[in-house]
């Protein structure tokens, strides 16, 4: 209902009370005193002439009493009537307004000349323009932390407007939980009888968490303004530039990845698209500004790098036109991924990355495709020889990690894993970690779990001769889900760790941006490229602390920023360097006397690149019982302000009406009651 809302809608739960008069009426009729009378002959005659009038009066009384309860409940709920009586925008009750700005990085997304945050400021000015001297405004800006802009006790609208000039979004991620809770508390404290909270955000999933549900007390109206195009997703990713590095060794993929602001005068934020072409070349398209698209390609065949024992081949025969097989040279471990049947390209790249990262001394992988229904989901089985490898696998988003006792010959703890559940639990002193997997894979994992520890993989793929499979140093695996119930048999595990990772077959190869794995993937690429041997990663805004020894420059270290330029940092008395100029995502290097001491990456919070938008329903659920409305770009923003500002609180009128109705009730019941 656009013309009527309630300031305290929680009181509307009392609406069933309007049944109370009816109940009392019915009960009183039932419990009416019975009087023995000699003969009702004359009563009936007299009653016949009065019954209609009496019934009418009773109905009127019942209605009036019900009406009184209804009015009282409504009055308690403080109804707000909007847009009536031709009120002007400025004609509204004194209102306390909190403007909450989502200042996280994703607000820098720009689909036209202004980014989302700048559009939000314009809208905020529009809100302020409709306030008057009786209103008070508070400003909150939130990214990692919540900041109060100006006075937290309420400013005049024109004062608040001045503060808007200096606002800009940050490079940080974060949720709005604390900010919304604080907004709720702030506006509750102001004297103005009306209170409203306007939140300017891109509604990116993750910006609001469960914490807000407990923190927000009540029933104040929240209005969320999102300046994104309806239905569009914010494609802001924390990766700016990917180029091939000239000095790369042959056969080794070497990517120079810079993330976040380019620092070259361009607007922060890029919007990449990653996909594979027919030649199985990975293509990364980067939109730095509207109309500007940069493309970087990197053949997958180059993914297996130096030191890796992974070879990726594209085989068009036998496995189908688009099928790809990965082999571990010499060990003939094989990964097969079928494209064109719903296989996620992200998975493909992920496999490649996993191979790159784990192809050394830490373990090995095997994988397969799970044909489930119409879709095919790839499965990667990764062998780890140490616990750290497992941890890394988990960190990279692997779905299921099982690992047996260390040093065991063939024994692995039999572990029953609730399929489809999420959690951690202990078994024989080691954790088993299960994360959500694709919707059709539980059956596979059920078989896997049930077959542990003696896992054999039979009929890995019917098109691949079994002879191609040889026992590796750590095990042989075959998974088959074709033709009925899944099962796993054969093979032995000897003192290894096993990781099984999968994604849902739902993802189409070009739906990269919808994949929650995409950003971890790119994040992994950044880590890989930047870190090399030992990647050290930080989030934007974090302080990097390095311990350095004596240098020829007296301890001063030059930090190379991603966008060029240097920043000199002197160590503290303890010899530690504190480098806090990390707003810009990208690749950093610290050098002293021309020698690189360390390299590290700084990236945006991957949560900021969440592609999915939180729904209005979810918002309402989180903020309940506060009324929540979401206003999108082009949805009559000012009209809504007009309606809200032009409203009248009806409680006082309702109480007057209650009084009048009670008078009427008393008059009529007085006529019915005895003199």
């Amino acid at each position: 209902m656009t013309w009527l809302s309630f300031i305290n809608p929680s009181y509307l739960w009392a609406l069933p009370l309007i049944g109370v008069p009816l109940l009392i009426h019915i009960l009183s009729r039932r419990r009416r005193r019975i009087v023995e009378f000699s003969s009702v002959m004359l009563l009936v005659k007299a009653q016949r002439q009065n019954v209609e009038r009496l019934n009418l009066r009773e109905v009127i009384l019942l209605l009036l009493r019900t009406f009184v309860v209804l009015l009282l409940v409504l009055a308690a709920a403080r109804p707000l009537l909007r847009g009536f009586w031709g009120t002007s925008l400025a004609d509204h009750e004194p209102t306390g307004v909190v403007l909450v700005f989502d200042g996280t990085l994703s607000m820098r997304y720009a689909s036209d000349e202004k980014n989302v945050f700048e559009h939000s400021l314009d809208r905020a000015r529009a809100v302020l323009s409709h306030l008057n001297e009786g209103d008070r405004v508070m400003l909150l800006l939130s990214d990692r932390i919540t900041r109060t802009i100006g006075s937290g006790e309420g400013m005049l609208p024109h004062e608040a407007e001045r503060y808007l000039e200096g606002l800009e979004s940050s490079l940080y991620g974060g949720t709005l939980d604390d900010c919304l809770v604080r907004a709720d508390a702030l506006v509750s404290d102001v004297d103005q009888p009306w209170k409203e909270i306007y939140v300017f955000t891109d509604l990116q999933r993750g910006f609001i968490g469960e914490g807000v549900a407990e923190g927000v007390a009540g029933d104040l109206p929240f209005v969320f303004f999102t300046e994104k195009d309806s239905g569009a997703v914010n494609r802001y990713l924390g990766v700016v530039d990917v180029t091939r590095r000239d000095e790369s060794e042959e056969g080794k993929l070497s990517l120079n990845v810079r993330a976040g602001s380019s620092g070259s005068g361009g607007r922060p934020g890029i919007f990449p698209r990653l996909y594979l072409d027919d030649e199985m070349t990975g293509i990364l398209e980067i939109q730095t500004r509207p109309g500007e698209l940069r493309t970087v390609s990197f053949p997958l065949s180059t993914l297996p790098g130096a030191g890796s024992r992974v070879r990726v081949e594209i085989e068009k025969d036998g496995l189908g036109e688009d099928d790809v097989r990965y082999f571990l040279p010499g060990e003939e471990k094989q990964i097969e991924i079928q494209r064109g049947r719903g296989v996620d390209t992200v998975q493909l790249l992920k496999v490649a990355l996993d191979l790159l990262q784990t192809g050394g001394e830490t373990g090995g992988e095997a994988g397969g495709s799970l044909r489930v229904g119409e879709g095919v989901a790839p499965v990667l089985v990764t062998f780890w020889s140490d616990r750290e490898g497992v941890r890394q696998a988990i960190d990279r988003g692997m779905g299921l990690v099982l690992f047996p006792e260390p040093g065991g010959e063939t024994r692995m703890s039999r572990t029953t894993i609730p399929i489809g559940s999420t959690g951690q639990w202990s078994g024989n002193g080691y954790r088993t970690i299960l994360s959500p997997v694709g919707p059709d894979l539980p059956a596979c994992f059920a078989g896997l779990a049930g077959g542990f520890p003696r896992v054999k993989v039979s009929n890995y793929h019917r098109l691949v001769p079994e002879s191609e499979w040889e026992k590796t140093g750590t095990g042989v695996w075959r998974l088959d889900l074709e033709g009925g119930d899944p099962f796993i048999s054969g093979g032995e595990v000897k003192g290894t760790r096993v990781a099984v990772w999968s994604v849902s077959p739902e993802h189409e190869s070009t739906d990269l941006f919808k994949s929650p794995l995409f950003i971890p993937l790119l994040d992994g690429l950044i880590r890989y490229v930047a870190g090399g041997k030992e990647a050290r990663d930080y989030l934007c805004g974090e302080t990097v602390t390095l311990k350095t020894g004596r240098t020829s420059t007296g301890g001063t270290v030059a930090f190379m920023l991603p966008g060029g330029g240097e920043f000199l940092v002197k160590p503290d008395p303890d010899g530690k360097l504190h480098f806090d100029q990390t707003e810009e995502p990208g690749f950093y290097a610290a050098s002293a006397a021309g020698r690189v001491i360390t390299e590290f990456t700084v990236n945006v919070d991957t949560a900021e690149s969440d592609m999915l938008e939180i729904s209005e329903k979810s918002l309402s659920g989180l903020l309940a019982p506060s009324p929540v409305s979401v206003v999108r770009r082009g949805e009559g923003f000012e009209d809504r302000i007009l309606m809200r500002r032009g409203g009248r609180e009806l409680s006082s009128w309702l109480f007057l009406l209650v009084f009048a109705v009670l008078l009427a009730e008393s008059y009529i019941s007085g006529r019915i009651k005895r003199r």
């Binding site: 009087v35 009378f37 003969s39 005659k45 009496l54 005895r674």
Partner: protein, 303 residues
């Protein structure tokens, strides 16, 4: 609405509710009647039963003992004295024992009042050597006691009335027709009833007695509440005879109710007067003596 005005302050001692609590019917009847008679300051023996009528000339065949010798001494002519009939009046007290008679708004029920009144009448009449009988009726005749003038008749009547329990509905037409057939000798019929039924039916039923040349006196016994409907609370009214219920707000329907009631009473008055039937409204708060007075007036007319 008190149709009978009080005549004497002493009569107040005979308030029905007070009298009702005194004890046995005989005692009450005696108290009522004796008090009543004391109030009248005249003896009942001076008038009613052994009444001189006239002198007429002696004719052959007349018994000599009836010759009035005093007249002969004065006039030297033979005259004989003539007297009224020696047998006293035959009175039938017809008492309504239907369930509605059990109603009371406080104090005595209509039935109890009627029984007390009938007891007093019986006592009074028997003292006058009238023969008194009793009939209890509702839808039919429940009890029929032939009139007798014997003293012991009083106890018979009182015991019968004391044992009676009001029940069933009032439908006088059949029982009255039956009674009219059974009562051959002319007499006085006293009806005590609330007459809460169709007035035309009641009138028609009473006419059966009139057609038999009986003198009829109707005491319309009503509770004050029935005459006023002065209740303070809305209630569900249940008919004591039919069990029918009516939801009513008394003060809302009072005017219409009283209108209907008065219409009914007027109808009784009009119809019964035209039939030469005495009709008297008596509420259960009216002292018995007033009702007795009404009876005496009627009795005097009968001579």
């Amino acid at each position: 609405m008190n149709p009978v005005k009080k005549k004497d302050s002493r009569i107040e001692f005979l308030d029905p509710e007070v009298v009702s609590r005194l004890g046995g019917l005989e005692l009450i009847a005696r108290l009522v009647v004796e008090g009543f008679i004391t109030g009248l300051h005249r003896s009942p023996y001076h008038g009613f039963s052994v009444e001189f009528a006239e002198h007429r000339p002696y004719m052959t065949g007349d018994e000599v003992k009836f010759i009035d010798w005093k007249v002969w001494a004065k006039t030297d002519r033979f005259y004989v004295k003539e007297f009224e009939e020696e047998t006293n009046l035959r009175t039938y007290i017809i008492l309504d024992s239907s369930a509605s008679m059990n109603y009371t708004s406080g104090g005595v029920t209509k039935f109890r009042y009627s029984v007390l009144l009938a007891s007093a009448l019986s006592y009074l009449m028997l003292r006058q050597r009238d023969a008194v009988g009793l009939v209890l009726f509702d839808e039919e005749v429940r009890l029929f006691i032939e009139p007798r003038a014997a003293r012991k008749q009083l106890r018979v009547l009182l015991k019968s009335m004391a044992d009676a329990r009001p029940a069933r509905r009032t439908r006088p037409i059949d029982p009255f027709r039956e009674l009219a057939g059974r009562i051959k000798r002319r007499g006085l019929v006293i009806v005590l009833s609330d007459l809460l039924t169709d007035p035309q039916e009641v009138t028609r039923a009473l006419l059966y007695f009139k057609h038999q040349n009986h003198e009829v006196v109707v005491f319309h016994i009503l509770d004050p509440m029935e005459l006023e409907l002065d209740m303070q609370q809305e209630a569900l009214f249940r008919d004591m005879e039919t069990g029918e219920t009516v939801r009513a707000v008394p003060w809302e329907i009072q005017r219409d109710y009283l209108g209907s009631l008065n219409e009914m009473i007027d109808s009784y008055r009009r119809e019964l007067r035209s039939a030469l039937i005495d009709y008297q409204i008596v509420t259960t708060r009216v002292p018995f003596v007033e009702a007795l007075t009404h009876y005496l007036v009627k009795r005097a007319r009968l001579g």
